[in-house]
């Protein structure tokens, strides 16, 4: 005899044992999204078939797979171990960008690792990653900052010695990348991320400038031109109130240069400078959507795709929850569980965003065991941060497509990590845009190359 749940679970959505389906307007005249938030299940349904979808074959179809979907989400959210580290080889930076998340005194007067210290640190990290990664899997090590090229000698020594044991990347402001450095990094297959905030100097130099107020627009563009055919290049634009009205021009500019992967990241409000430069949500959303539309127009017109990776990651998270590459738009976020950050002192933080906050120091690479740091109170505060514990995220249909990023800025803005993103409305609209992309069958135009090869289909309504 079937029990009550077996008998009734699939008859109707939203009553009894049936699934809780949220119906989401996605800005299309004929189509809505039906979402089961816990499992990140979705279906795009014609409005004239919505009744059928809520009391017909859709709940039945979902019920047959819901346990698998939920297990997959649990594995993604709670079952991963770190496979990457962000590594600040120096506290110093030659620039003084208005929105930096690191304290000014650290960037002006901080310490820089020696080659010996850096290689010692990499050896310790490697020993840890060997204990958690499958045999043969290389951890990722991203040199970050401050400006990692300030520690050029140490960083290059580490890359030279360990290039066969880590996937290396470097996020740099490009101002110290001379031809010799470019040749070294590209010959070692190092992923390179550059930063540029506008298609013209007078805007780009407002936020990205040195301690004397001088910008480096021309120099950064020159480096982008040198690296544009390098497959492991991406360029980040931090979107602020100063440049938000120019990001569609930015898309044109990057596309004209031949850049293939960009990010249009809303400024993190982790420090006062970032908070003061935050664009309004409606302005951010309107301009971001125009920029995404522009990438599609350019793709149609030229056949040349340019991926906006932060949006592509939202889209990937909808299509393949475990196929996302970036772990900000899922809760718990990746900080402290998929990756962690190492400061130039060796201090360990859940993410680089926390390096300026001593209360989030979970230990020291040179003194403590990494697993101990990963289970320290400050790490657990971040790795335990779930959308289900946040108002209004707990009842939000897209909570597993957004993740309420980022705990560092949320803590600064709201005084607690259990609060929604300052860019909540922006994330809502990105999810709606992602569903429109799917409804229009345009996924390939927005996802990075190789996405299909990295993933496999496990379900399709047919």
């Amino acid at each position: 005899m079937k029990n009550a749940q077996q008998e009734q679970q699939s008859r109707y959505a939203n009553t009894g044992f049936g699934p809780n389906f949220s119906v989401l307007d996605i800005g299309m005249p004929d189509t809505v999204a039906v979402i089961e938030p816990d499992s990140a299940y979705w279906a795009l349904v014609s409005k004239d078939e919505l009744g059928e979808a809520l009391s017909g074959s859709l709940p039945v179809d979902f019920a047959e797979r819901s346990e698998d979907f939920k297990k997959e989400m649990d594995a993604l959210r709670f079952g991963l171990t770190p496979s990457a580290a962000y590594f600040n080889p120096t506290e110093r930076c030659n620039l003084n960008c208005g929105y930096c998340y690191l304290p000014e005194e650290m960037r002006r007067d901080g310490i820089t690792m020696t080659p010996e210290q850096l290689c010692d640190a990499l050896e310790r990290l490697l020993a840890y990653f060997k204990t958690v990664l499958p045999e043969g899997a290389k951890p990722q090590l991203i040199f970050h900052g401050s400006e990692p090229m300030v520690a050029r000698e140490a960083m290059f020594a580490g890359i030279e010695k360990y290039s066969d044991r880590f996937h290396f990347g470097v996020q740099t402001n490009a101002t110290l990348l001379d031809d010799e450095a470019i040749a070294f990094l590209t010959s070692h297959g190092v992923g390179i991320g550059l930063s540029l905030d506008a298609p013209k100097a007078e805007i780009a130099n407002i936020t990205r400038k040195n301690w004397n107020g001088t910008g480096y627009f021309d120099q950064v563009v020159a480096v982008i031109k040198k690296l544009v055919h390098y497959p492991a290049l991406n360029v980040i634009t931090t979107v602020t109130s100063a440049n938000v009205g120019h990001i569609t021009e930015m898309v044109d500019f990057y596309h004209e240069l031949g850049v293939k992967v960009i990010m249009l990241n809303p400024v993190r409000c982790t420090r006062k400078g970032g908070q003061e430069l935050k664009p309004d949500n409606d302005v951010m959303t309107e301009n971001f959507i125009k920029a995404l539309d522009r990438t599609h127009e350019l793709y149609e017109k030229t056949g040349r795709k340019m991926v906006v990776a932060n949006f592509a990651n939202i889209l990937a998270g909808v299509i393949a929850p475990t196929g996302r590459r970036l772990m900000c738009d899922i809760s718990p976020c990746g900080g402290g569980r998929c990756f962690f950050a190492v400061a130039a002192t060796g201090d360990l933080f859940p993410c680089s965003e926390f390096i300026g906050f001593p209360e989030y120091n979970g230990g020291n690479l040179f003194k403590d065991e990494i697993p101990k740091a990963l289970t320290s109170a400050p790490f657990k505060e971040i790795t335990g941060r779930k959308a289900e514990d946040i108002v209004p995220c707990a009842n939000c249909a897209i909570r597993h497509f957004c993740g309420a990023p980022c705990p560092a800025e949320v803590k600064e803005v709201s005084g607690t990590v259990n609060a929604p993103s300052p860019f909540c409305q922006f994330y809502e609209e990105q999810a709606r845009y992602a569903f429109r992309v799917i409804a229009q069958g345009r996924e390939d135009a927005y996802l990075w190359d190789g996405f299909d090869d990295e993933t496999e289909e496990t379900y399709r309504w047919a």
């Binding site: 074959s57 499958p134 996937h167 990347g169 190092v190 492991a232 970036l326 772990m327």
Partner: protein
């Protein structure tokens, strides 16, 4: 059970290498297949 709703799009994919090299933060994206430059 016969699927009566015709105009529905729903599908799902999964990562083939979950946990091996996934999981980066918002401001970094190593372009796919960085090693192809070698």
């Amino acid at each position: 059970m016969k699927k009566s709703a015709k105009k529905v799009i729903s599908y799902r994919r999964r990562c083939l290498q979950l946990g091996q090299n996934t999981g980066l933060s918002h401001y970094i994206l190593l372009a796919p297949k960085a090693d192809s430059s070698k």
